[in-house]
């Protein structure tokens, strides 16, 4: 991982500092965060609650603008939302008046070039969406409304929505937070398979360190608020990783290393 060259860098954050205004007071959410992500890299950001992980993803999505520093994607500075990004928010936020299928299809109605083709090629896109829904275990839920499926199912639908338009960058904010351990581990494998197949660039936020090690090429650990990057760990476990691998010596070693870093951040 030390042979990083400038061309390989796809996403970069340079000394990003962001403050929210809350009742006239500035709340510093992240401070002086710099990181680089290669094209096709799977990056996981871990850190204690409230340390600014969501904020970091929002900066990359162009939803909030940093007060200091800058974010860039493919050497272009992020100044606002971009079309090559897929984001799954911490809460699923499905549109309640749309059924699951129409929620998943939403990005295609907005993002070029699908936007112009959507009406004419709808059945094609519906087939793609079906396939995606099936891969996360949601077949047969197409025409339910969001409130008619469970929280975990909503989260999976939201993941499909983030993926449907084949974005180059996938921003996932605790995408498996509302799932049971079994479904979660199953979806790790689904996501890994999709990623190995399509090779999009991923930034995933999580509290779950096993998840981090299982999925990541690189794990960044953030400090408590205001969030700073305190460590960067490369995970060299070969791919595709299986659940068996989570018991391997290499896996547990990396896991304990990151666990220790988090412990330091929290001061224990």
């Amino acid at each position: 991982m030390s042979n990083l060259t400038a061309e390989e860098t796809f996403v970069r954050l340079d000394n990003v500092t962001l403050e929210y205004q809350h009742e006239g007071q500035a709340v510093r959410a992240v401070e002086d965060v710099s990181l680089t992500v290669r094209r096709g890299e799977f990056v996981v950001v871990a850190g204690p609650s409230g340390c600014g992980k969501t904020t970091l993803l929002k900066v990359l999505a162009g939803l909030v603008v940093p007060g200091n520093g800058s974010a860039s994607v493919g050497n272009v500075q992020v100044r606002g939302p971009q079309k090559n990004v897929g984001m799954a928010f911490q809460n699923p936020i499905l549109l309640p008046w749309r059924k699951v299928m129409d929620n998943v299809l939403l990005p295609l109605e907005v993002v070029a070039p699908h936007k112009g083709r959507f009406r004419r090629h709808r059945s094609e896109y519906v087939a793609q969406a079906r396939e995606l829904l099936a891969s996360v275990g949601l077949e047969g839920f197409d025409d339910r409304h969001p409130w008619q499926i469970s929280g975990g199912q909503q989260q999976r639908a939201s993941l499909c929505r983030a993926l449907i338009h084949n974005p180059e960058i996938l921003l996932l904010d605790e995408p498996f937070g509302a799932l049971d351990a079994f479904t979660r581990e199953e979806l790790w494998q689904v996501l890994q398979a999709l990623w190995m197949q399509r090779r999009f660039t991923v930034l995933l936020v999580t509290h779950d360190l096993r998840e981090a090690v299982f999925l990541a090429d690189t794990v960044y650990v953030m400090s408590t608020r205001p969030g700073r990057i305190v460590s960067r760990t490369a995970v060299d476990v070969p791919r595709p990783r299986t659940l068996e691998d989570t018991f391997s010596a290499q896996f547990t070693e990396t896991y304990h290393e990151i666990r220790r870093q988090i412990g330091e951040v929290l001061g224990r």
Partner: protein
């Protein structure tokens, strides 16, 4: 299951209504209230049957003015509500005027309308329009104003334009508010039409009641009152059903599946 729920739903109001009529009838009979002060339900019924053609003719006139005025309010209210919700500039520019306008009692406008349009159908339609317009505007604008920022973020993160966010989130989000305003608004339109007819018309159920009262046809006045009440309830119920049918998602109920 279905039967019991229907029964439990309809039985209490039915009992109340029937008992109210029974008490009314008994009270009038026992206290020997003269018919020109308060006729009993049976006398009102007789008047209803006797004057059914006049009642039918005038009621349909009122329904007509109500619905035309209401249709105008629908189009105008939806349009203005969306404009206000879309643009903060339009909102700031128009809101004070709208509030001022709404606080004028609409009955006070009828004489002005009579000066401009004479006695007849037009003032009734315009009164219905003016009185029912405001709730629609306010509701639609509220629906847009209370749109969750998270919902917008979903669209924004995809690079959607303001117009796209408006079309895909704003409008669907405000529809339940719009439909909720219809039942209130149509009732107001009806009130407006009847008020205008009592002052400035030669047709309509309001006119019929004023005419009957000036001839001391008190049972007919009450028959008119009953018809007015029934029409108001019917209009309200009609739009309540439409609301439920079209925006079932907002109630999280099974409404959409029926």
């Amino acid at each position: 299951m279905k039967r019991t729920s229907l029964l439990t739903e309809w039985l209490p109001p039915l009992v109340v209504i029937v008992s109210a009529f029974a008490i009314w009838e008994a009270g009038v009979a026992l206290l020997r209230v003269p018919e020109f002060i308060l006729p009993g339900p049976s006398a009102v019924w007789v008047a209803l049957v006797k004057w059914r053609e006049a009642i039918w003719f005038n009621a349909s006139q009122t329904l007509y003015t109500t619905l035309v005025g209401f249709a105008m309010a629908l189009a105008g209210g939806m349009g203005l509500g969306l404009a206000i919700g879309y643009s903060t500039l339009v909102y700031r520019a128009l809101y004070p005027l709208l509030v001022a306008f709404n606080s004028v009692p609409k009955a006070a406008i009828v004489p002005v309308l009579v000066i401009w349009f004479g006695i007849g159908t037009v003032p009734a339609i315009l009164t219905a329009f003016l009185i029912s317009f405001f709730p629609i505007v306010v509701n639609v604008a509220t629906g847009l104003a209370t749109m969750e920022p998270e919902l917008q973020d979903v669209l924004r993160s995809l690079g959607a334009s303001k117009r796209e966010i408006f079309m895909k989130v704003g409008i669907p989000r405000s529809l339940p508010y719009f439909f909720a305003s219809l039942k209130v608004s149509v009732t107001l339109a009806f009130v407006g039409a009847v008020i205008s007819e009592t002052v400035a018309a030669n047709k309509g159920i309001g006119y019929l009641m004023i005419a009957a009262s000036s001839r001391f046809e008190v049972p007919l006045v009450f028959a008119g009152l009953i018809v007015v009440a029934a029409m108001g309830v019917a209009l309200f119920a009609f739009f309540a059903v439409i609301e439920h049918r079209l925006t079932g998602w907002a109630y999280r109920g099974p409404a959409l599946t029926v």
